[in-house]
């Protein structure tokens, strides 16, 4: 039972960054821009938050109101993430360039910038920024029971924020004027333009929302990884793109898809301690079998559900007023 508790807690910890970033990707694609730069934006967000944590660590605020400090870090990551994604928006909306160009550049820039900045601040070769001990929301007792394991172990401020974001995204996309306009820009920008919606403004907004969420997602990833910030998010930005397609561009389905993926991911992380899983005793490094499973499962589900998959019609195509 305790193992199951650990499994669920680890699943939630890994699902949170995926959900946040995939929802971000959804906002961007619903507005008509494919955000390939999520990986880079996550790294920048994580870098900013880790630096904020590091500087607040010496201050009095970290003792009196640690969660306020965490919130400051998360907000910083969101703001910088949105600003960073502006570069992608500018290249693909204003300059009408191929969207892979801006995305590739930002993905390449982010880890390099993170390493250079970390070195400049911490000294040469010091590539990791450690997360201070006051960051977790709660600390599980050593003899924690099933529920304590789920709710106290690896629980960070990003988890409640993630739940709020799922609810907010569902409402914004389906129940508000803004959501309808955003979706229309991704489906048929010319028609949206003809009724007076500013397509460019909508797309900038969509990309920058995705930047803010990806920034927060980067923080969530770094916290879930546990050992601090090491200038990487291990491909989660790209995974989030897959999760978004898997979730068919719909907030609740995205959340479900992310949980499913995270479940298999944490299964691989804990394959040694779960008694009922086959241990492949004749195979060396059987860990790699478990590492492969989440990706294979995702592929199988994608293949089975692909007929129903519906991407926003105008995604990836730069909108040109003159072509109307």
């Amino acid at each position: 039972m305790n193992v199951l508790g650990d499994l669920i807690s680890s699943m939630i910890a890994f699902a949170v960054p995926l959900i946040l970033v995939a929802l971000g990707a959804m906002f961007s694609e619903r507005s008509g821009t494919i955000n390939i730069a999520l990986e880079g934006i996550m790294i920048i967000g994580a870098l900013v938050a880790s630096l904020i944590f590091k500087f607040l660590n010496e201050s009095q605020l970290a003792v009196t109101a640690p969660q306020l400090c965490v919130l400051i870090g998360i907000l910083g990551a969101a703001i910088v993430g949105a600003l960073y994604s502006f570069f992608l928006a500018f290249a693909s909306i204003r300059l009408k360039a191929d969207q892979t160009i801006g995305g590739t550049a930002l993905n390449m820039l982010a880890p390099a910038l993170a390493i250079v900045v970390t070195w400049a601040i911490q000294g040469q070769g010091q590539t990791a920024i450690y997360t201070p001990s006051w960051v977790p929301l709660a600390i599980a007792p050593i003899d924690a029971n099933f529920f304590e394991r789920i709710f106290l172990k690896s629980m960070y401020l990003t988890t409640p924020i993630c739940i709020l974001v799922i609810a907010a995204a569902t409402i914004i996309i389906y129940k508000t004027k803004f959501g309808l306009r955003l979706r229309s820009c991704g489906e048929n920008p010319a028609a949206a333009d003809s009724v007076g919606i500013n397509v460019y403004k909508m797309r900038y907004t969509g990309v920058m929302i995705s930047g803010a969420l990806a920034g927060i997602g980067g923080v969530a990833f770094t916290l879930a990884a546990g050992s601090g910030f090491a200038s990487t998010v291990a491909g989660y930005g790209f995974l989030a793109l897959a999760v978004m397609i898997f979730g068919n561009w719909q907030p609740l389905k995205i959340a479900f898809a992310a949980l499913l993926f995270a479940f298999f991911k944490s299964l691989s992380g804990m394959s040694g301690s779960i008694p009922f899983l086959p241990s492949f005793e004749n195979v060396k490094e059987s860990l790699y079998i478990y590492l492969m499973i989440p990706y294979i499962v995702t592929m199988i589900i994608l293949a089975l559900t692909s007929k129903k998959s519906r991407a926003p019609k105008a995604e990836g195509i730069p909108y040109d007023k003159g072509s109307r």
Binding site: I36, F87, A91, S92, L95, K96, A97, D98, T100, I101, G102, T104, A105, L106, M108, L109, P111, A112, L113, I115, V116, W119, A120, Q124, A234, G235, F238, L239, L241, A242, I245, F246, V283, K284, E285, Y288, I289, L291, M292, Y295, I296, T298, M299, L302, A303, S306, K307, S309, A311
Partner: protein, 408 residues
Amino acid sequence: MKNSNFFSQMMSSIGKFFVKIWNGILNLRKKRGFNSILASLFSIVIGIVIGLLLMLMIKPKDAFYGLAMMLTGGVSNISNIFQVLYTAAPLLMTGLAVGFAFKTGLFNIGAAGQYTVGAFFAIFGAVILKLPWYLDILLAALGGALWGAIPGLFKAFLNVNEVITSIMFNWIGLFAVDLIIANTPRLLDTYYGGADQSRAVNVAGVNPGAKLPSLGMESLSPYMNVGIFIAIILAIVMFIILNKTTFGYELKACGYNKESSKYAGINAKRNIVLSMAISGALAGIGGALTYLAGTAQMQVTKSISPIGFNGIPVALLGMSNPIGIIFSALFIAYIQIGGNAMQPEFATEVIDIVISVIIYLSAFSLVFKQAIDKYLLNRKRKQIDLELAEENKPKPPAVETPKEGDLQ
């Protein structure tokens, strides 16, 4: 008599060839391609300037030393020159893979996985099957093609976006290769007395015939081999396929507009799978060129090869044109070796920042090109204005005064 006739004919045709090239160079300035090259060079200069500014911010007193290393590190000694060529070869292959897929309307972000699977096939062929190097390269192409064809099949028959499938199969390929290497004792370094358990054996040590020929220049540098020439030849072959054959035309047509190419009788599904397989084969050969050189050993690792991902910037910088990719791969390899020379004053990642700025600026290339076009046009206009002014100068009175005969 016949022979000399043939000889002179050949000489004259060679002469004509050179004249043609020279005329081509002269005409280049007038062509649109020239402006895009100019725009790329402009991006490169700005990228390097930003790199310099960054270094000035971090360590002002070492910044210009860093710049000098970045720009000259690649030619600072003979060994570095060969290392540039060695680094460029796999980059050129993964760049070609991504660029070729771009040309056919596909985003192959899975070059990294295809590279890894190709590398594994090459090592397997060399170590277990004891095949010579050229067959190992063919095997690598086969492995890469297989790994590339899977996203193609998913896209063609199940309508799953190739970006997602390639990303997933990057990881699946990596972990599968890890698993197989870890479970094949004869592939491991430890089997041959090595110490590292998580490393495949050096190919050259086990099967000297699998090592890429060094063209007799091994004494100059262990990095010297035919890899870069193979890569360049393949780039030229890809250029010809894309631009001079019906097959290439069909592939490109599918990229531009799938529906209308279907209407024209092109089998779009088959072409998507073929494009991805060819792209994968190119990336797979890149893997072979890295490990058959005999200077690197494949690691059992949890992180995806950066060479595969770096194919994307190489392709973008080369504007997906195979010939452009030759130069962009050489440039990126050159500046990377320069980056190694910058250590320990600066992290090599400064180079990645410079490259990413250059890539980002290539999004501006259209704007740059328009600016250059405008400038040239204005200059031309001024010239024409001048010429017109010359013509319209007050002419000698003899012309203006009407002839007597006309009036009467």
